[in-house]
Subunit: 216 residues, 2 copies
């Protein structure tokens, strides 16, 4: 009997794992929609369970408490899928780093920012707005700022290795500028609040970066 | 006797008004420091009373509830004094609008932003971070966004009246860009978090605006 139970377990385990993965993904997608629309503070675990069509305890067992859900939503939307590969290892990010022409590199970087912000600007801004009111979210927000600064450094150092920068800007200054201006918040202001298209944002950012950073 | 009371009232009234103005100003300055340091949500009316050296009820009678205090702190720090003159009527704002040379105009605008943000970036960001958690602050935040957009329009239209803009940008696009990039948040990121000096910020912003907006 022990043997048959083990056999059945071995037989159903991949299907169960697939079901667990789907449930988890449905919860994260539901949470993403709600955080983006209503904000993090106004969204409850009950709301997330209802939107995902699962029972409330399933949310806790599949993902965790609300701040853990937010963390996983962020990981998922930054990368665009649930593969455990960091952004800087993604082919689209590497394509920009490896592009030898500095103008084309900045155009690829602007494309990458547009791609990421279409997915994650809303939830990124939800984290920022909840950061002061909730210490767990505050800690996540600080970590996200450090990751984005690190990503900006990669791009700045790669650019500085390819070309003389304007006015003798160094890679640190360029990293600070990318980190403070090419942000999800600026994207959100222009696209959500002022009605720009994502493509218009991409062209504008590419242009701004080329003019601000590269010599004539 | 009625006459003597009236006389005394008339006699002491300017001194009392002056004392009331000083108390009010001490409360607003204390609130500004606390909002900037601790954030709006973490600051109580008790904290403000203690920091200002007044009794708690004096805060309510002199200024009002916490959201009203925040509103008055913002009015005070945006303009830099407690005169009832709107920012766009201030000589330093008019100086930029009236400057005929577009490069010099953008340098004056960058100077104005530096001057304002040195005073108000911290409390501006405190409003943004508390906007989601507190509906009164949310409404104030929306109003502040509209005021800043209106100010950006004045500058954009004045610039468009003086020169051809780059790439056929129109005044609306320029206003959106000023509103989304020349923000207190970008100032705060660069100066508070990345350690730039306010003067470095001013030079960088002037340069960025000239390159992004004006033809070669």
């Amino acid at each position: 009997m022990g043997g048959s139970v083990n056999d059945r377990r071995r037989y159903t385990s991949p299907a169960r794992r697939e079901q667990a993965r789907k449930t988890r993904r449905a919860i994260l997608d539901a949470a993403h929609r709600l955080f983006a629309e209503k904000g993090y503070l106004a969204t409850s675990v009950e709301d997330i369970a209802r939107e995902a069509g699962v029972a409330r305890p399933t949310v806790f067992t599949s993902v965790g408490v609300k701040s853990q859900i937010l963390k996983e939503v962020i990981d998922l939307t930054l990368a665009g899928d649930d593969e455990p590969v960091p952004v800087r290892e993604r082919p689209w990010f590497r394509e920009a780093l490896e592009e030898p022409d500095p103008h084309r590199m900045l155009h690829l970087h602007a494309r990458n920012m547009r791609m990421m912000y279409v997915r994650c600007a809303d939830v990124y801004c939800a984290v920022e707005s909840a950061a002061e009111a909730d210490p767990d979210v505050g800690a996540l927000w600080q970590a996200m700022q450090r990751w984005r600064l690190m990503g900006s450094r990669f791009v700045a150092e790669s650019l500085a290795g390819k070309t003389r920068l304007r006015d003798g800007y160094d890679a640190d200054t360029v990293a600070d500028m990318l980190w403070s201006v090419a942000t999800p918040m600026v994207y959100r202001k222009l696209v959500r609040e002022r009605g720009w298209s994502p493509e218009q944002y991409e062209r504008w950012l590419a242009d701004l970066l080329c003019r601000a950073l590269l010599p004539d």
